[in-house]
Symmetry: C2
Subunit: 411 residues, 2 copies
C-alpha cells in the first residue's frame, strides 16, 4: 500500500471535536487506499503551559528534564487520535517516540532525528492496521532518555517519517491555508502562494514565518519529500494549500517571494572587546556550547585595540548567553567592558530565489525603510535573503512598506 | 546508604509551590543521609481531565490507548520535581515507568507490577545522585506498551519500589494526616488512628477509603514494608500520620476499627436466570474477561427452575458489564429475562480485626441501620468486615449511626 503522512498541528487537535474532524480527513485518505501515518502535536496551549512550568521551576533548566516534561502533551493527543479512529472502525494505534523508536542525538530540547526504523510500524500495517498515530516532536537519545526536537518539531517528525517510509506525500495540516507572501495579520495585502521552492521556504521558516520548522524543510529538500501545507479547517480539495517543491517546479519569477519577521530576536552587544586573533572563537565557542543559536554577527571597526561585537539570538536564550559569556570572562577566555542585551528589536527579512539573478534588491529594501524613517541596526544577507534588525515598534510598518515596494500582492 | 521511599499524591504536587514544598521535605531526608526514591502522582485534576477525554472520545475504549493517554500526567510531575530538587542543589533525575523499567502484566488500566530491576537507579545512586524521581501509576507491558496500575496506583508503585530497594520506610504523603475511623467530612467525630494493621487497612482500602490503593497494602503486607500515611501540609515530625503495620504492633483492641463507604458501586440484577449447574461460571466468566470487578454476589432462592442473580461492581464498569452479559446471552451461554442496573446505591462497611474474637458485630450493625429505617439490599461479610448495600440517600446517616454505635470516637 502507498503510505501517506499527515501531520496535525496544535490548533488542529485543540479539542476533542477538532481531533474528530482531523480523524475524518484521515478516514478520507484511508478510503483512497493509503496506509496513513498521522503525526500529532500537543493540543494547542498544552506545550506552552508545560514550558511555562519548567521555566518557572528552573530558569536555567536541565534540558533532559525539560524534554521529559514538555513531550507529554503529544502523547495525550496520539492516544486520543487512535481512540477516535478506532471509534470510526479504522484499525489504529498510537506510538510514542521511544516506542518506534525515533532515534535522535542527545542534544536535548533541540535534538536531531538520526534514524527511524520502519519494521515495527510496517509489521502492523501488514497485519491490517490502517493508521499509525505517532506523537510528534519527540524521540529517544542513545542514553535512553526522552528528547524533543525544538519548537515546531512535529513538522520535522512528519517529514522524517515521510522520508523513512517513502511516503507519496507529506501533508502538514495547520491553522493557515498555506504559505503567504507575508503574515496576513500584519498586511491585508498578503497573498497565498500556490507553490514555493524548498530554498525560499527554508529561509522563511528560519526567519520566523511560523508555518514550518526549518529543519523539516531541510529534510524535505534533502529527501525530496513532496510537502504540502494546508488548513484543517477548509474543505478537502486537491488544490488546497501551498506545495513546497523543487525550484524548477515553481513558475513565478520575481526577486522577492515573501517578507518575514521575527519578534523573538534579541540584540546583544559586547562593548570594548580586545581586537585580537581568536577573539571570535573565544566568544562564539562558549555560546555554541551553551546551546545559544547565534544568528547575525557584526563587528565594529577597532579603535585602540578595542572593538564592539554585536550578535543576535532568540530572546529566550538571552539568560543563557549572558551566563555563558560571563563565565568565559571569569575564566579569562575573553575580556569585555559590558554586555548589553536589547530585546526591544525585531528582524525583518526579504526572501526570494529571484535575488540570485536580479540586482538592486538590497538597495530597494534599505531605501524603502529609510523613506519610512526606520533606522537599520544590523544587516545580514545570504544568496536569497536580506535581513535587518530594527526597533520593534516599526515592525508592522516595515513589513507593510516592503510588501508594497516589492509588489507582492500581484500575481 | 539506606533508601527511603516518599510518595506524593496529586494534591501534594498540585501546583509548582506545592512541588517546592514537597521537595523541601525530600531535602530533609537527604540531609539525614538517605538515598531517596520519590514517587509522584499527576498534579491533581490532571488524571481526571485525561480520563474525561478518553471517556468522551470512546466510552468502550481500547485500554492500551487509555493507558498511553492517562499516564502522561505523572511524567510532567516527575520532571518538574527533578528540576525543583536540582534548583535546591540536590542531584536528582526523573524516570518514567518504561525507563526503570517497571515491568507489569499486560492487563491494561489495571496492570500488576511483576518486577522492578534496581540496577539502573542504584548505579546512579552510586554515582552520587541523591534522589530518583519516578513517575508513579505506570509501567511497561511485555509487549512494550505503556500500562497503568489503576486508580491510586502510585501508592502501589511506591510500595513496590520500597520492597525492591529494601527501603527503610515508605512514606505516603497525601492531603489527609492519617487514617481515620471514618471520613471526617461525613462524621465530625472521626478520629485519627496512630496505627492500623495491614489487614484492616486492606479492607478499608478495598471498601472505598481513598487513603491507599488496595494493591499497595497487599504488597506492603507481603514484603513487610513499613508504610506511613501522612499529610504533606503538616509540620514534619516523627509521630505524624498513621503507621500501617503488622497486627501484633497495633495495641488497640476493639471489634470495629473503622467505617468505610463507597458511592461508586452499582447493583446489577439478572432477572429469571435458569438455575442450573455452571450458571455462575457462565455469568461471571464473561464479566471477568471483560475486566469487570465484581464485588458482592447474591443468588435468590430458585422458583420453578428460575432465579435472580445480583452482584455489585464499580459504577464506571456498568456499561462494560452490560455489554459482556448481553454478548454472552447472544451466544447462548446464558439466558435471562432482564438486566437491571441500579446505580443509586452505596456500600457501607464496618472493619476490624477484633471481629475475629468478638461476636455480635453483624447483629449490632443490622440493628443500628434498622433503627434508622435503612433497608439493606445486599450483605457480604469476610473474617474482619461486614458490608451492606443501601440506598445512596442514606449514606451519611448510616456512616454516622454506625460510628456512634461502635463508639469509634473514643480511644
Amino acid at each position: 500500500m502507498p503510505v501517506l503522512v499527515m501531520k496535525f498541528g496544535g490548533t488542529s487537535v485543540a479539542t476533542l471535536d477538532r481531533i474528530k474532524r482531523a480523524a475524518k480527513r484521515v478516514g478520507l485518505e484511508v478510503a483512497k487506499g493509503y496506509d496513513v501515518i498521522v503525526i500529532v502535536s500537543a493540543m494547542s496551549g498544552e506545550t506552552n503551559k508545560l514550558v511555562g512550568f519548567v521555566n518557572e521551576t528552573s530558569p536555567l533548566y536541565d534540558a533532559r528534564e525539560y524534554d521529559a516534561v514538555v513531550s507529554s502533551g503529544e502523547n495525550v493527543t496520539a492516544g486520543l487520535m487512535a481512540l477516535t479512529l478506532q471509534e470510526m472502525d479504522i484499525p489504529a494505534r498510537s506510538w510514542q517516540g521511544w516506542q518506534v523508536p525515533v532515534q535522535t542525538t542527545s542534544a536535548h530540547s533541540s535534538a536531531r532525528i538520526e534514524a527511524i526504523p520502519t519494521d515495527n510500524i510496517s509489521a502492523k500495517f501488514n497485519e491490517g492496521m490502517k493508521v499509525a498515530v505517532v506523537a510528534g516532536f519527540q524521540g529517544i537519545s542513545p542514553e535512553g532518555r526522552i528528547t524533543t526536537l525544538g519548537r515546531g518539531g512535529s513538522d520535522t517528525t512528519a517529514v522524517a517519517f515521510a522520508a523513512a517510509f517513502e511516503a507519496e506525500r507529506c501533508d502538514i495540516y495547520t491553522d493557515v491555508d498555506g504559505v503567504y507572501t507575508t503574515d496576513p495579520r500584519i498586511s491585508s495585502k498578503a497573498r497565498k502562494l500556490e507553490k514555493i521552492s524548498f530554498e525560499e521556504m527554508l529561509e522563511l521558516a528560519s526567519l520566523g514565518a511560523k508555518v514550518l520548522q526549518t529543519r523539516s524543510v531541510e529534510l524535505a529538500m534533502r529527501y525530496k519529500v513532496k510537502l504540502r501545507v494546508l488548513s484543517s479547517f477548509e474543505e478537502p480539495s486537491e488544490e488546497a494549500g501551498t506545495l513546497v517543491c523543487a525550484e524548477e517546479e515553481v513558475m513565478e519569477n520575481r526577486p522577492v517571494s515573501g517578507i518575514a519577521y521575527s519578534r523573538d530576536e534579541a540584540k546583544m552587544t559586547l562593548v570594548d572587546v580586545a581586537d585580537k586573533p581568536g577573539i571570535a572563537a573565544a566568544i562564539f565557542g562558549p555560546l555554541s556550547e551553551a546551546g545559544v543559536n547565534v544568528d547575525m554577527i557584526i563587528q565594529n571597526v577597532a579603535e585602540q585595540g578595542l572593538t564592539d561585537m554585536t550578535f543576535s539570538c532568540p530572546t529566550d536564550q538571552v539568560l543563557r548567553a549572558q551566563k555563558a559569556l560571563n563565565d568565559a570572562k571569569g575564566r579569562g577566555d575573553i575580556n569585555f567592558q559590558e554586555l548589553i542585551a536589547d530585546t526591544d528589536v525585531c528582524k525583518i527579512s526579504a526572501v526570494g530565489i529571484g535575488m540570485r539573478s536580479q540586482s538592486g534588491v538590497a538597495a530597494k529594501m534599505f531605501k524603502t525603510l529609510s523613506e519610512e524613517g526606520i533606522n537599520i541596526k544590523v544587516i545580514a544577507t545570504s544568496e536569497i535573503k536580506i535581513s535587518v534588525l530594527i526597533d520593534r515598534k516599526y515592525m508592522e510598518l516595515a513589513v507593510q512598506a516592503l510588501h508594497d515596494a516589492f509588489e507582492l500582492e500581484k500575481l
